[in-house]
């Protein structure tokens, strides 16, 4: 199978703290991978390394077979939704979207589903600093999906969203998966991962504890729910 992202022996420490100790994993096109793990397990660091926001101490990351070190072109193929999205305070929502299009220099083939689903097009005149945390999350989500990238990386996408908006986002994620996109999701909400993910990666203290399909995991543990299965496999 062809892998779109390959992570090879990735190591990263912040000061004395080893956040990632030799992480090896591959992601292939099409499918949703849920990245789980307790706080400080290295989930966000792994994601940020893939995005080139964190520079690894050792190992390498390949995107479509090419190393991502010192390159930025590959990010055209990634839509990223950060845990906490913050934007220039005085900028208006409409300007932000315009700016991102301008910076990426992409003005066609845009995916504006989420913008209309969240009613963001009705508040283009609102400045970013007047927005609530939830609305900012919506903006972040809409931005991640906007450019129709083949890879989506969502860092705790539904945290802070109201249930209805979270449902909209989940539906969108499933739609995109059906188009053959790779979607990485970190989350602490197990029911959500249970609903969405095809594969589950569990990070613990900078190592991959396991990385297998949800069906395998459930079959191995004989549990129907991901939460139960996790407790069983980790105890």
């Amino acid at each position: 199978m062809e892998y779109i992202i390959q992570v090879k022996q990735l190591k990263k420490s912040f000061g004395k703290l080893e956040v990632l100790k030799q992480v090896d994993c591959d992601f292939s096109r099409g499918g949703i991978v849920g990245v789980l793990g307790p706080n400080a397990a290295g989930k966000t660091t792994l994601i940020k390394s893939i995005l080139g926001m964190v520079i690894p101490d050792g190992g390498e990351i390949l995107f479509e077979g090419k190393s991502v070190a010192n390159s930025f072109e590959y990010k055209k193929n990634i839509g990223y939704m950060p845990q906490i999205g913050r934007y220039p305070d005085n900028m208006k929502i409409g300007d932000l979207f315009k700016m991102m299009k301008d910076i990426r220099n992409v003005h066609e083939n845009l995916d504006t589903d989420l913008i209309s689903a969240y009613g963001l097009d009705a508040m283009t005149d609102k400045a970013m600093h007047t927005l609530s945390g939830g609305t900012r999350q919506k903006v972040s989500a809409a931005l991640a999906f906007l450019f129709n990238p083949p890879v989506l990386i969502l860092d705790e996408p539904t945290a802070g969203l109201d249930p209805l908006s979270a449902e909209i986002l989940k539906d969108k994620i499933l739609q995109e998966k059906a188009k053959g996109k790779l979607i990485l999701i970190t989350s602490h909400i197990l029911t959500e991962v249970d609903e969405l993910a095809d594969k589950v990666m569990y990070l613990l203290d900078g190592n991959i504890k396991f990385y297998k399909t949800l069906t395998d995991l459930k079959a191995e543990t004989g549990e129907q729910r991901l939460g139960k299965a996790l407790t069983k496999i980790l105890s």
Partner: protein
């Protein structure tokens, strides 16, 4: 790079701080020119005020803005843009805004009231000073992870240049008063952009004679073409070196 710069400067121009800064500078300049018939004296007064306010505002505002926009930087890093372009775009954007404020607040009144070589020197050195302190602000921002430390370091740089440096020079002069230090002093001034700017302007005003023997020596060196070139060159170094250093740090920085 220019796109990022454009958005950042548009963002800053809308903020009240930069408008207040422009108005403050303009008010100071206009009131000084109105209060005194003698334009040269006015320029000297403006120099004194400018050498305190301009570096302070540039360094603090640029650092604060850098940190306030740090999540925005993260967003940009996740986009297909090189890190060099991101930092340079940010730098350009901030520079355009703060330099614009300076040119409007100080440049315009000077051109109206005292459009002389001295006036132009003041505008030029003020601009270079603004650029150097924004560079220094960037350096302290990329070196520090959190905002408080970043602003702290930025303020330390300002303290060093405006207050501590003079103290150090005095101690040095006192300790080595038995030796001829005039030439050494010229070299020492290169370590402080504010002093460089002060000397460059004051020597244009021709009041160096008031500064005694050292002043005469300064006049001889800094008043000459070579001296002016040296001072401008050193100011350029103060603006380019920290910028280059911050670029190097930023390329390897975790966000």
């Amino acid at each position: 790079m220019f796109k990022i710069a454009k958005y950042i400067s548009l963002d800053i121009i809308k903020s009240k701080v930069i408008i207040a800064y422009t108005l403050l500078l303009a008010a100071i300049c206009v009131s000084i020119f109105m209060a005194d018939e003698d334009v040269t004296k006015g320029l000297v007064s403006i120099t004194t005020v400018m050498l305190i306010i301009v570096p302070l505002v540039s360094v603090v505002y640029a650092t604060t803005y850098y940190f306030n926009a740090s999540e925005f930087t993260e967003l940009l890093v996740s986009q297909p843009i090189s890190r060099t372009n991101i930092l340079m775009g940010k730098y350009l954007g901030i520079c355009v805004a703060i330099l614009g404020a300076f040119l409007l607040g100080v440049g315009v009144p000077i051109l109206l009231f005292a459009a002389s070589i001295t006036g132009l020197t003041l505008i030029l050195t003020g601009s270079l000073l603004t650029l150097s302190f924004i560079s220094l602000a960037f350096l302290s921002s990329v070196l520090m992870r959190d905002k408080a430390k970043g602003i702290g370091l930025a303020l330390m740089i300002w303290f060093y240049c405006s207050i501590i440096f003079d103290g150090l020079v005095l101690v040095f002069l006192f300790a080595f008063s038995d030796y001829p230090l005039e030439k050494v002093l010229i070299a020492i001034t290169a370590f402080n952009p504010i002093d460089l700017a002060r000397i460059l302007i004051l020597l244009q005003v021709d009041i160096a004679a008031l500064m005694g023997y050292t002043g005469a020596l300064y006049q001889q060196f800094f008043g000459s073409g070579l001296g002016i070139t040296f001072t401008l060159f050193m100011l350029m170094v103060w603006f380019l070196l920290p910028l280059w250093a911050s670029l190097r740090v930023f390329k390897k920085k975790d966000l």
